[in-house]
Amino acid sequence: ISGVFWSFLNGRCVIFLAYLNIVCLCSASQMQTVTLIPGDGIGPEISVAVMKIFEAAKAPIQWEERNVTAIKGPGGKWMIPPDAKESMDKNKIGLKGPLKTPIAAGHPSMNLLLRKTFDLYANVRPCVSIEGYKTPYTDVNLVTIRENTEGEYSGIEHVIVDGVVQSIKLITEQASQRIAEYAFEYARNNQRASVTAVHKANIMRMSDGLFLRKCREAAEKHRDVKFTEMYLDTVCLNMVQDPTQFDVLVMPNLYGDILSDLCAGLIGGLGVTPSGNIGANGVAIFESVHGTAPDIAGKDMANPTALLLSAVMMLRHMGLHGHAKKIEAACFDTIRDEKVRTQDLGGNSKCSEFTDAICQRVRDMD
C-alpha cells in the first residue's frame, strides 16, 4: 500500500511541478530581443527615453542597439552594415529613430536602403486623436496603409528631349495584391470594420485600375470586413470636413504619402504620430517619422511621444497587448494632465522630466 501511496504522491508531485513550470513560463513571458536603431540628432535621447519607460513597465523586451550608416559593399553597391542586417534578420522586429539624409553624400537615403534591404512593403500609420493635445479635429481614429515599394516612387525618370521629362509610375499585380491582402488582414486582426481603397482609376485607368482590381479581389476573400472605394480627391475633401467617417485606408505610394501626412496633421503632426513598416519574411520596423531636429539635439528638449507610440504599436504587433495598453495610457494621461509636457506640446518641461512622469505613472499602475 505504501508503495502505491508513494507513487501516487510522486505522480501528483510531478503533475504539480509541471503545472508550476507552465505557470512560471506564462507569467515571465519570454524576453524578446528587438533591434534598436537610435538614429541621428534627437534619436539617441528619445531612444533612451523609450528604453527607460519600457523598463519601468517591466516589458519583456531586450534591446540590441545597432547603427545604420551606409557602407559600400563588395561590388560597389551601397548597403547597410552587415551586423545591423544580421540583427534584424534574427530578431525580425526593429524600432528606429530618425535618420538624417545627407544631401549629395553619394549614397541613397538610409530609409530607402532599409526599405529595399528588408522589402518593407507596407507603411502603416494609425492616426488617433490625442486627448489633451487639442487640434481642430477631434475623434480622429483611422489607419493609413500605404504601398511602399513601387508606384510613383519607382525612381525611374528620363529626359526624353531637352525640356520634356517623363516619370514612370509602376503598378504591379504582385505588389498591389500583397498590400491589399495586408490591409484586410490588418483590419481583421485589429477589429477594424471597413477598408477603403483610395485611387484615381477614373483618370489612370490601367494603373490604378489594376490596384483597385486587386483590392476588390482581396475584399472577396475577407467578407467580414466592409470594402469601399473612393477617389483620392473626394477623400481629401471629406477628410478635412469629417475625418470620423474613415477607418482603414489602403492606397498606392504617392497617395499614401500625401494622405498619411495629412492625417498626421489632423492629430497634431509628426511629433506625435507612430508608424510601422511591414516587410517580407515577418520583418517589421517601427519608427518615428519626424526629422532629426538637429537644432534641439542634445539639449534634453525632444519629445519622445512619436517613438514611444511606435514602440507601443510594436508591442501590439508582438501580441503584448497588456504592456502596450499600460504604456500608452501612461503616455496619454501625462499629456492630458498638462503639467509635464515638452515644448512642442505647449509645455516647458524637459524630455527627461516628461519621461520620468510617464515612468512614474506606469509604475503606479501596477
Binding site: 487640434t135 531637352d162 509610375k169 504591379t172 489612370m204 501626412d261 495629412l262
Partner: protein, 346 residues
C-alpha cells in the same frame, strides 16, 4: 503672352456664352444662375449644349467643344464621363485651373481667415493618360513634365498674383523624390520668380503642404503646382472653407475660358431636391462676368451672395443649415433689388 481677352460683345452689347448643364445637380444650379442673371439684366445669352452622359458619343463631345470654341466662354455643370477634365482641358488647351478659397464670414469652419489662390497646371503631369502594360501584371503610367508648360503655368501664377496684389507664391512639389520631373517644374518656377522681385517665392513638398494646410492654412497666399497635387490641394482647401458647395473654379487657356464649381462632384444623390448649395455655381457665374469685363454685375451678385451667407437660416444642408436652394436664390435676388439697380420682374 497676353492675358486672355474676352470675345467682343456681339449684337447690341450682349455676350453669348456656352452653357453645358451636365448631370446631377448641374442643370438645377445652372437654371438658378440664369434666373439670377435674367433678374439682374445681365447682358449674357446662353447657348445650351446638352451632353447626356448616358447617350454620350464622340459627336456630342465634339459639338460641345465646338460650341465652346465658337463663343470662347463656357459655364458648365458636372459631367462624370464627358469632358472628363483632361479631355476638354487638353483639346481646348485650358492650361490653368484657378481656384480661390476664401473663408466666408457667415460659415462655421474649423479654420478662419483662409484666403488662398490655387493655380494648377491642367494639361499634363500625371493626367497625361499615357499608360501601357508591357509585361502582363506590370503597368506603367507616364507622368510628363515639360519646360514649356511649367514656364507657362508659373508665368500665369505670378501674373495673377501681381494683378491681384498678392505677396507670395508657393510652388508645391515632390522634387526630393521625383528629381527630374518635379525638379524641372521647380526650376521653371524659380526662373519665372526672378522676373517678379516684388513677389516672394518659396516652395514646399506636397506632403508637408497638406499637413500645414490642416493645421495652419492661413500661412498660404498663392500656390502653384502640377496636375495631381493641384487636385489634392484644391480639394483639401475646398473642404477647409466649408465644402464643395461654396467654391467656384475656372479653367483658363490662351483663347478660351470655362467656369464651373471648383470640385468636380456630380451630386447625383441631391439632384432636384432643392437642397443643393447654389453658392459655388453662382460665384462661378460671377467669375465669368468678371472675365467678360462686366464687373458691376459681378460685384453686385457676389455681394448679395455674401450677405445671404451671413444669414444662418439660409444655409443649405451641406454647411449645416436647413435652407433650401430656392430660398438662397430668392434672397440673393431680393438683395440685388434692394440695392436699387435695374431688375426684371421678380
Amino acid at each position: 503672352m497676353p492675358m486672355l481677352q474676352p470675345p467682343p460683345a456681339k449684337y447690341g452689347g450682349r455676350h453669348t456664352v456656352t452653357l453645358i448643364p451636365g448631370d446631377g445637380i448641374g442643370p438645377e444650379l445652372l437654371n438658378h444662375v440664369r434666373e439670377v442673371f435674367r433678374f439682374s439684366c445681365v447682358p449674357v445669352d446662353f447657348e445650351v449644349v446638352h451632353v447626356n452622359s448616358a447617350l454620350e458619343t464622340e459627336e456630342d463631345i465634339n459639338n460641345a467643344i465646338t460650341a465652346i470654341r465658337r463663343n470662347g466662354v463656357a459655364l458648365k455643370g458636372e459631367q462624370p464621363l464627358f469632358l472628363c477634365a483632361s479631355q476638354t482641358d487638353t483639346s481646348l488647351d485650358l492650361y490653368a485651373n484657378v481656384m480661390h478659397c476664401q473663408s466666408l464670414p457667415g460659415v462655421q469652419t474649423r479654420h478662419q481667415n483662409i484666403d488662398i489662390m490655387i493655380i494648377r497646371e491642367n494639361t499634363e503631369g500625371e493626367y497625361s493618360s499615357l499608360e501601357h502594360e508591357n509585361v502582363p501584371g506590370v503597368v506603367e503610367s507616364l507622368k510628363i513634365i515639360t519646360r514649356n508648360n511649367s514656364l507657362r503655368i508659373a508665368e500665369y501664377a505670378f501674373r495673377l498674383a501681381r494683378e491681384k496684389g498678392r505677396r507670395r507664391v508657393t510652388a508645391v512639389h515632390k522634387a526630393n523624390i521625383m528629381k527630374l520631373g518635379d525638379g524641372l517644374f521647380l526650376q521653371c518656377c524659380r526662373e519665372v520668380a526672378s522676373g517678379y522681385p516684388d513677389i516672394t517665392f518659396d516652395s514646399m513638398i506636397v506632403d508637408n503642404t497638406t499637413m500645414q494646410l490642416v493645421s495652419k492654412p492661413q500661412q498660404f497666399d498663392v500656390m502653384v503646382m502640377p496636375n495631381l497635387y493641384g487636385n489634392v490641394v484644391s480639394n483639401v482647401c475646398a473642404g477647409l472653407v466649408g465644402g464643395p458647395g461654396l467654391v467656384p473654379g475656372a479653367n483658363y487657356g490662351r483663347d478660351y475660358a470655362v467656369f464651373e464649381t471648383a470640385t468636380r462632384n456630380t451630386g447625383k444623390s441631391i439632384a432636384d431636391k432643392n437642397i443643393a448649395n447654389p453658392t459655388a455655381m453662382l460665384l462661378a457665374g460671377c467669375m465669368m462676368l468678371d472675365h467678360l469685363k462686366l464687373h458691376d454685375h459681378a460685384s453686385s451678385i457676389r455681394n448679395a451672395i455674401f450677405t445671404t451667407m451671413n444669414e444662418n437660416r439660409l444655409h443649405t444642408a451641406d454647411i449645416g443649415g436647413q435652407g433650401t436652394t430656392s430660398e438662397v436664390v430668392q434672397s440673393v435676388m431680393r438683395i440685388i433689388q434692394s440695392k436699387g439697380q435695374l431688375t426684371a420682374e421678380f
